[in-house]
């Protein structure tokens, strides 16, 4: 089957800023695909282009075989887009908001009850159907915004940082909903600054300065990081590790929660690295070999630019 989305050498600039540079990726039908990158990486520009709100300067972007330059109306009919600041009407109820978006997308009246039932089932918002949107918690607002985005039964869902500012429990719930939608065949493109969410995608592209640094399944990306990595569990050092950074054989040091993650040059033996760091600190330390996480890969890609990712 052909991919649902095909982005081919796509570039886009705003005046002097090159927002996206020569970006190429594909999204298969039914895939949960993540755009991962720091602020300003070009994620939002890419998403807006996918939903035909922006036109590529060069290169081509197609959705279901349709060019975003020429088939705006057709693409919008099959696409649901949730921007970072999705506008709900705070003085309308949950149900009134959904009905409003149903009218905007010209959902036939006779189909509406069945669709609302379905949206309520996964969002668990039915008990709150009369509550004003302005009085919902952050997590519930996001679920309502998602429901409004889904009212016209899109085959493609484009979500720009849907869980920013949402607490960990509500974030988990939101991602369970995304997995349910994918199981029903919806293709989802989502951007996120959270690496634990990136791990929940089928495939991701890591973007930086408008370009793709790496693509693949999160697990493959993690496996491709071959530099030896160690953890040093010491809370006192977590934010105060400049003495370690300059130790010969140390390539990089990053704080991770209450420990440090240290990558070595690769050639140095773990015991030697351990005693060199201990020497620099003036006491014994214990380095624990660890497998890198996606966050390690992300940092290595962006800060060092030199990780051997396939």
């Amino acid at each position: 089957m052909t991919p649902l989305i095909s982005v081919d050498h796509f570039s886009k600039s705003y005046e002097e800023v090159r927002a996206v540079r020569d970006l190429t990726f594909e999204v298969n039908r039914g895939e949960l695909f993540g755009l991962i990158g720091p602020d300003g990486a070009g994620k939002t520009t890419t998403m807006r282009t996918l939903v035909t709100l922006l036109r590529p300067d060069t290169g081509s972007v197609t959705v279901d075989g349709m060019d975003v330059r020429t088939r705006m109306k057709d693409i919008r009919a099959i696409t649901g887009y949730m921007p970072q600041r999705f506008s709900l009407y705070p003085d309308l109820s949950v149900e009134q908001n959904i009905r409003f978006f149903a009218d905007l997308f010209a959902v036939p009246r006779e189909e509406l009850p069945a669709r609302m039932d379905r949206l309520y089932r996964f969002s668990r918002l039915e008990a709150f159907s009369r509550r004003l949107a302005g009085r919902l918690s952050g997590g519930m607002k996001q679920k309502l915004a998602l429901s409004c985005t889904l009212i016209h039964d899109p085959v493609l869902l484009v979500l720009d940082e849907p869980t920013t500012g949402v607490d960990p429990v509500s974030r988990n719930e939101f991602w369970e909903i995304l997995h349910e939608l994918r199981a029903q065949g919806v293709t989802i493109v989502v951007s996120t600054p959270y690496m634990d969410e990136a791990m929940k995608c089928d495939r991701i592209v890591i973007m930086h300065d408008g370009a793709s640094l790496a693509q693949g399944s999160p697990r493959d990306l993690v496996a491709s990081m071959t530099v030896p990595m160690y953890a040093l569990d010491d809370r006192d050092l977590v934010m105060n590790f400049s003495r370690i950074e300059t130790v010969p054989g140390v390539r990089s040091v990053q704080s991770f929660g209450d420990s440090l993650h240290i990558t070595s040059d690769g050639d140095i033996l773990p015991e030697r690295l351990q005693s060199a760091i201990g020497g620099a600190l003036g006491r014994d330390v214990h380095l624990r070999p660890i497998s890198p996480s996606l966050e390690d890969v992300f940092i290595a890609l962006i800060e060092e630019g030199g990780v051997h990712v396939l």
Binding site: G37, P38, D39, G40, R124, A127, F128, R131, L136, S137, G138, G139, M140, E161, T164, G165, V166, D167, P168, V169, S170, R171, N172, P193, Y194, M195, D196, R235, V238, M239, N240, Q254, S255, F256, G257, D258, E295, F298, I299, I302, E303
Partner: protein
Amino acid sequence: MSSEHLRFTGDPALPASEFAVSATDLTKRFGTFTAVDAISFTVRKGEIFGFLGANGAGKTTAIRMFCGLLPPTSGTANVAGYNIRTQSRYIKQTIGYMSQKFSLYEDLTVAQNIEFYGGIYGLTREHIARKTEQLLEELQLQDRRNKLTASLPLGWKQRLALSVSLLHDPSIIFLDEPTGGVDPISRRNFWRIIYEIAGSGKTVFVTTHYMDEAEYCNRLSIMYRGRIIEIGHPGELKERYGLDSMQDIFIHLVGGDIRPENTP
């Protein structure tokens, strides 16, 4: 430095306390809804204290009371040695506050934002001018001083907002989700600055939804339905619950179907 507000900050004659924050049965009701329900806890000076909780647990209401912006319904609290009921105007001059959402004026330039806040905090003109140069240099924003704040990348905006909230040299700083929506690298850089701030003796009171950041706090509390249901050192809590991460502890304590937002 002889500006007006210093009369209230550095004076040794003022009530001294080993705690930067101490709350006693602090309560706030809105009509029949109890947003903050008799919370009692203390934060030591120089501590990085994490104030965690789900959306809607009452964190923001509590912080507004600590900042002297909202009077409590009952109970009380001392912040930086001042009582939030009777001395709230002193508190405002002794604390810094930064939130992700409301700190900077996007349509002012970088330098104008610094000048504006310096003026609000009552700093003298020379002091503002000196501080402006110092901050622009520290943040490496000299080239962008006349650019609109809106044009800065999010991570830089947040660092600028943090610097601005420290202009008047507060003894305690409240950070309400300071790193929301920011990538892991910018968040780490931000936390290195937080450690520097705490290292200089200031107290940092911070809320976050990132549980890896919770690990960086010296102590933290978890709020649920207006109450503080757990408090301690991240390591203590992990031991107490036999769990490996703050993420697991948070979900264990706050997760499931018993959240207030799931009860109509």
